[in-house]
């Protein structure tokens, strides 16, 4: 029951009406039941694994808060290692056992059973483990006291809008909301519905449409020329963004319907003016997770170990940054998937950020000498485009099937050769026209949000007709231009 299925659109109102009908005291229970029901609609057997993770972490966190600081270190390490082993085992199961013939079953809303004859990563496992790690770290740091209510704790991990693909919620953000009483809030519900609608537009009209061309080109990259591959890579950049941010909008919108505010994962990332800025805008809950629980601890650890002010004529701060960022982004790459392509993707971002960190003062001097103002309009455009190109280059590794393909694609792209692939029939052109329409619409909306947020708005217009006509047309455009057979969200696999 993925978000872009009719089953979900039938499931949601039923859960919502029942939620507001039940007394406040048992609403958490209903949400938990609904979340379990939602999870059961994928591969039911994995619910046992998740239940074990929830129970063990619930008890461990309480234990961790009770033991003395001296003993808590070992226990904390044991908890972290246990969770990571579970994640690694399932994530790399098919690498460890490539010929496995496990018989898993997917059960749909009509109780039809579809066999899956290979191990697949349990839905949302990466996100649940990262959420639970964040919880345990916060308990260890004594930033929070462990949640005593098992039901609330379970719901913190299981809450169905975020279980499959995040956002990776910090305990301080979500658990207090679980304790609050959520009245029917008209404004919040309308906001939630609008957000969901925009999410569906991004997923069905933009992401799944772009996927047609991207898949056609990238799945046969050896037969396509440089210009076609450039176009496909640009399309992929928007596909993955529309796909993941569309999912996030639907998740956030769904949560709002129940009175919960989840953390936004995206803030117009392709308007970033540097790679650091990009990561402040892209998959925010994951990047801040990596910053707070990996980068900073590694950096502090190194700062304590590296006592000299300089090593090899370079300041220690810069060395610390390099090591910490490379470790962080290597893990970020590995988290995304098995294979060298993901690792290179992560390392590339590590290199970009290190370069930026090491040459920051040099750039400043150069800018001064050339009399370029930091707030200059042209400089902003130059930096935005440069950042986009660097991100685009990294996406090649993320999307390509393997290292060999990645380098072949880069080699072809650098030749800038050939005419763009349009296919023999009008189908490809049709798909391209819809793709450009989708990207154009997305860019206009985001450009307005980024730079002209206080100007005229169709979607927030005070005039009822204009506002509702805008939303009605958005729905009609989903019906007319959406891809309804597009399938699941890209980040489901991570």
């Amino acid at each position: 029951m993925i978000f872009n299925s009719i089953s979900y659109l039938l499931f949601l109102p039923i859960v919502l009406i029942a939620y507001y009908t039940f007394p406040f005291k048992i609403r958490w229970l209903w949400l938990l039941v609904a979340s379990i029901g939602y999870y059961l609609s994928f591969i039911p057997i994995f619910l046992i694994l998740l239940a074990v993770i929830v129970c063990v972490n619930y008890l461990m966190a309480i234990w961790l808060s009770m033991v003395s600081d001296k003993r808590s270190g070992h226990l904390f390490v044991a908890i972290i290692v246990m969770n990571l082993i579970i994640l690694a085992f399932f994530k790399y199961f098919n690498v460890l056992f490539p010929d496995n013939q496990l018989h898993l079953y997917n059960v749909d809303l009509f109780f039809r059973v579809n066999p899956i004859n290979k191990m697949i990563l349990p839905l949302g496992l990466s996100y649940i483990i990262f959420t639970v790690l964040s919880y345990q770290i916060e308990v260890k740091r004594k930033n929070i006291i462990p949640e005593k209510h098992f039901g609330y704790f379970s719901l913190y991990l299981f809450f169905f809008p975020k279980i499959a693909q995040g956002p990776i919620e910090r305990p301080q953000q979500l658990i207090p909301q679980l304790h609050q009483t959520h009245h029917f809030n008209y404004t919040m519900i309308v906001e939630g519905l609008k957000l969901m609608l925009w999410g569906y537009f991004k997923k069905l009209v933009i992401a799944d449409r772009l996927a047609i061309y991207v898949n056609a080109v990238y799945n046969n990259s050896e037969h396509h020329n440089g210009n076609t591959l450039i176009l496909a890579t640009i399309f992929f950049a928007f596909q993955i963004y529309a796909d993941f941010s569309g999912y996030t909008d639907i998740a956030l919108g769904t949560a709002k319907l129940f009175g919960f505010n989840l953390t936004n994962n995206f803030r117009r990332p392709y308007f970033a003016t540097s790679i650091k800025d990009f990561w402040d805008r892209w998959h925010i809950t994951f990047s801040t997770w990596l910053r707070d629980y990996l980068f900073l601890p590694v950096a502090y650890f190194l700062a304590n170990k590296m006592s000299k002010p300089k090593y090899l004529f370079v300041s220690t701060d810069k060395w610390i940054y390099l090591i910490a960022i490379m470790i962080t982004f290597s893990i970020c790459g590995i988290w995304h998937g098995v294979g060298w392509t993901y690792l290179i993707w992560g390392i590339l971002f590590g290199i970009y950020l290190t370069y930026s960190n090491w040459t920051g003062s040099l750039h400043k001097k150069l800018r001064k000498r050339l009399h370029i103002k930091k707030i200059s309009y042209y400089y902003l455009i130059y930096k935005t485009i440069l950042t986009f190109i660097l991100v685009l280059f990294a996406w090649i590794f993320f999307r390509a099937d393997n290292i060999k393909d990645s380098f072949n694609i880069i080699r072809k792209i650098l030749t800038f050769n050939g005419t763009v692939f349009l296919g023999d029939t009008f189908e490809v052109i049709n798909s391209l026209i819809f793709s450009f329409f989708g990207i154009g619409f997305l860019l206009i909306i985001e450009l307005k949000e980024e730079y002209f947020s206080n100007t005229f708005s169709f979607f927030n217009n005070t005039n009822w007709i204009i506002r509702n006509l805008s939303y009605a047309l958005l729905i009609i455009s989903i019906i007319l231009f959406g891809v309804f057979d597009g399938g699941q969200f890209i980040y489901f696999q991570f």
């Binding site: 009719i6 507001y20 009509f110 009245h183 029917f184 809030n185 008209y186 519900i189 309308v190 029939t425 009008f426 052109i429 049709n430 026209i433 819809f434 509702n468 006509l469 939303y471 009605a472 047309l473 729905i475 009609i476 019906i479 007319l480 231009f481 959406g482 891809v483 309804f484 057979d485």
Partner: protein, 316 residues
């Protein structure tokens, strides 16, 4: 007292929300109806293109001979040759990329109006492969759902929710707007040289023949097999002479495809001729008859059409 006030406020905002949602939904349906009607008007006004071909097949053709199939039917059977030799009107109702679901829906719609004398069904390699894409392709029949109840069971195979989606008048025309625009211009007529549904190809294939030695294993779709059998039964029940033909590929196969094997068994069960042109010497040794391995060119189509006529023509 405070609690009661809060509950009442909640009830009021709930009622307010439902009312506003209801008003918006009616507004949405009106807009949808306007868009749906405009696109529908232009959809059925098309003079060329794939959609026009489907409309013609479903609603207009009265030909005595109908040729069903995918693009291979479009490019392999020249109705002009059938008409001149058999002295019967002939229409090629094949459509690019379509499969048995589409063929059966068109047959149902045709039989609703009249019974042709002869039907040729072009059968593909891996015809019964289990593949979600086959079901997605049923969307090409959605514009006909409203006026053709006979095709409802086939459209409903697409998903369990088609009836819900079809509540919106614009939905049947999803992704078709640019085709509809082109179908209302001269674009297709200039680009696609089409005669009674036959689309001649002029290229000549110049690469050596591929040989397939290993039996390709794939999962069979029982629904497709059932629909295929229903196609045969409906033709028989309507007194139509049915011929099932696996037309040539420029490929040598050293095994019998599972779908062809099943197709032959079912055809035999109903005493329907099934002609298999796999490895046929006329074609396998003549790459100049092909445009590419899956499609004959115009020259190949002429030879092939004559061969089929010789097989089905039985002088009294």
């Amino acid at each position: 007292m405070i609690k009661k006030f809060s509950d009442k406020k909640q009830d009021n905002s709930f009622v307010y929300f439902i009312l506003k949602l209801g008003v918006f939904f009616i507004f949405l349906l009106c807009i949808d109806s306007v868009f749906g009607s405009i696109i529908r008007y232009y959809y059925f006004k098309q003079k060329s293109g794939l959609e026009f071909a489907t409309t013609y097949s479903i609603e207009k053709t009265t030909a005595n001979i109908l040729i069903f199939g995918s693009s291979r039917a479009n490019h392999h059977y020249n109705p002009a040759i059938f008409e001149s030799q058999l002295k019967m009107s002939c229409q090629n109702v094949g459509r690019d990329g379509q499969e048995i679901f589409y063929h059966f829906a068109v047959l149902k719609a045709v039989l609703h109006r009249y019974s042709p004398k002869i039907i040729i069904l072009d059968f593909n390699w891996e015809e019964f492969i289990k593949d979600q894409v086959s079901y997605d392709k049923i969307s090409s029949l959605l514009p006909y759902y409203r006026n053709h109840p006979e095709i409802h069971p086939i459209v409903n195979l697409k998903s369990n929710y088609e009836k819900i989606k079809l509540f919106f008048k614009s939905y049947p025309y999803n992704s078709t707007i640019f085709y509809v625009i082109l179908g209302n211009t001269e674009y297709n007529l200039k680009k696609r040289n089409e005669i009674n549904g036959y689309v001649p190809l002029n290229q000549i294939w110049n690469k050596p023949v591929n040989t397939y030695n290993e039996l390709k294993k794939y999962e069979l779709d029982t629904t497709k097999i059932k629909i295929y059998e229903s196609f045969i039964k409906d033709c028989i029940n309507s007194g139509i002479e049915l011929y099932i033909i696996h037309s040539p590929y420029f490929a040598r196969s050293n095994y019998l495809d599972k779908s062809i094997e099943i197709g032959q068994v079912i055809a035999k069960k109903h005493n329907v001729p099934f002609y298999d042109f796999t490895n046929d010497s006329v074609f396998i040794n003549n790459q100049i008859l092909f445009s590419e391995p899956a499609h004959l060119n115009d020259k190949g189509a002429k030879i092939f059409s004559n061969m089929i006529i010789n097989k089905i023509w039985q002088p009294n």
